[in-house]
Amino acid sequence: MDLYAEEIISHYEHPHNKGKMDNASISLHRDNPTCGDEMTIYLNVDKDGKVSDVKFEGSGCAISMASASMMTDFVKGKSLGEVESMGVKELVELIGIDPGPARLKCATLSLRAIKEATFIYEHKPMDSSTKSL
């Protein structure tokens, strides 16, 4: 299995949606202290409860950064409910590689931050699938 598939390297080198967002509906910082990956997610939510824009800032390994690039592309235009229903299975399908147990936390960092941000935005308690990411 090649973790460093062309698409991963490409997203890592030229990340989509990278940068700061002023006037975000919500922003949230999350990290993986054991490996040093860290990321801030910015979400804009429109009046229909859809993610109208999303950006991320941060640094880390290729898996975490490429995954954030693809994940931010994916959630754009999705409803908060759709974002909240995403799990590891959807993430693996999206990024096209199986990160394996050692790198799972790298791959899921952006998903975790985005999902947590939506729950916080809606003042809802986090579900167990989000907590376990």
């Binding site: 890592y12 054991t34 290729a62």
Partner: protein, 419 residues
């Protein structure tokens, strides 16, 4: 050349003793460059443990039957060997623990609790592993003491001599310092640190987790009060480590754990402690671990610690020479002129590629290396200012051709990330 051949160790012969070195990882022959995390085990150690369970498994110190007597004598023999290995005065000064971390915790929770008071200073260094930081941090919090760090020099490779003097002037109660850094590879002059500490009335704990497996250690020459090590980093099994303490200090210190084996007599409302070192070993010990460690010490003595050290120096000289020719590589710690003060640990950074990505690509080439903060976050993230580092670490079974394979893997990383 004849002289060289005599000094060199027979690596190919040694490698045949390590079954794991004949295996593959991701379809490639395993190249193990993570011995600072844990060493591989020779068949002699594996057999010693297995033979104990197969032939004379029994509890120690009490059975009036042959296999218990044999287990007892093998276990005691292992402590006697370890005492000789680090040149302790006697076996009574060798307490078995789970590992170096537990040994440090025992000192902090016994001697530390009894002797460190509010307002006291505890001195450690800026190149400690978490195991030699957190127990002291907690002790300082419990007692209202201050935890101080000996700073590194400008090159961020060695302890700063001037700062060392300044910290000692605060008259710490205890100084806990590593003999060899698991990140920088620096070998500290713990004998001088001990002398300075004793002059201000401090006790000294030396963390030997990275030194005892790789060089001749002489606790009496260092004159430290405590010395700790982990068996699993020196060819032994996991689950066994040791605390050396000077007899008079161990005698004056109350044990941490209590129960069976550590008492001489128990009455309904009183007790008397057992002799050293048993006073500090409550309950049934890791008998198999002690026996495995014994075989590991035999193995290291068979190779000779001077030869272990010279082999690792040769590898480190070679890896630094090769690594420094790779574009975009930054090596941490002392350079070629500091090889005499460097153990078999080389941490590096490649461009801005995250070390986990480096280690992952090494893994796909069958090469095991460590990437991260190496359980030394104050050093790596604060002093060096890095999120994480990649680390190669060596032992008696590593070869120059394995270094070549590591350099080739770095080239693969460069190609993958197009740098």
């Amino acid at each position: 050349m004849m002289q060289m051949a005599h000094e060199d160790i027979d690596v190919e012969r040694i490698r045949r003793d390590f079954p794991i070195l004949g295996t593959t990882m991701n379809g490639k022959p395993l190249i193990y460059l993570d011995s600072a995390a844990t060493s591989q085990k020779p068949i002699q150690v594996i057999d010693a443990i297995s033979n104990y369970y197969k032939e004379y498994n029994a509890n120690i110190h009490r059975g009036i039957y042959q296999i218990s007597e044999r287990a007892t004598s093998e276990y005691i023999e292992s402590k006697e060997k370890l005492a000789r290995f680090i040149n302790a005065r006697e076996m009574a000064e060798i307490v078995y623990t789970r590992n170096a971390t537990e040994s440090i915790n025992v000192v902090a929770l016994t001697w530390g609790n009894e002797n460190v008071k509010k307002g006291d200073h505890i001195l450690i260094s800026d190149m400690e592993h978490h195991s030699n930081i957190v127990p002291w941090m907690l002790l300082a919090e419990r007692k209202g003491a201050t935890l101080d760090y000996i700073k590194l020099d400008g090159a961020k490779a060695e302890l700063d001599v001037q700062n060392l003097g300044e910290q000692m002037a605060k008259k710490p109660k205890i100084v806990a310092v590593t003999q060899a850094s698991n990140v920088l590879g620096t070998i500290n002059d713990v004998k001088t640190v001990t002398k300075m500490a004793h002059e201000v009335g401090a006790k000294v704990l030396v963390d030997g987790a990275q030194s005892a497996p790789h060089m001749k250690v002489d606790v009496r020459d260092i004159d430290c009060d405590f010395f700790v090590l982990s068996g699993h980093k020196m060819l032994g099994p996991t689950g066994i480590g040791a605390l050396y303490g000077k007899r008079e200090i161990l005698e004056a210190t109350e044990p941490l754990l209590s129960g069976g084996d550590m008492i001489r007599s128990v009455h309904h409302h009183e007790h008397t402690w057992n002799d050293l070192p048993w006073k500090f070993e409550a309950g049934t010990s890791d008998i198999a671990g002690g026996i495995g460690l014994s075989a590991a010490i035999d193995y290291l003595n068979g190779v000779g610690m001077e030869k272990v050290r010279s082999h690792e120096k040769k590898l480190v000289r070679y890896v630094i020479e090769r690594l420094s020719q790779v574009k975009g590589v930054q090596i941490f710690g002392l350079g070629q002129d500091g090889i005499d003060k460097r153990c078999g640990v080389v941490a590096f950074k490649l461009e801005n590629i995250h070390p986990h990505d480096v280690a992952q690509i090494f893994d796909s080439e069958g090469i095991a290396i460590r990437a991260g903060h190496h359980c030394a976050m104050p050093l790596v993230t604060e002093t060096l200012g890095e999120g994480a580092l990649s680390r190669l670490s060596f032992y008696i079974y590593n070869t120059e051709s394995e270094v070549d394979a590591a350099i080739a893997a770095i080239e693969t990383v460069r190609r993958t990330f197009k740098v």
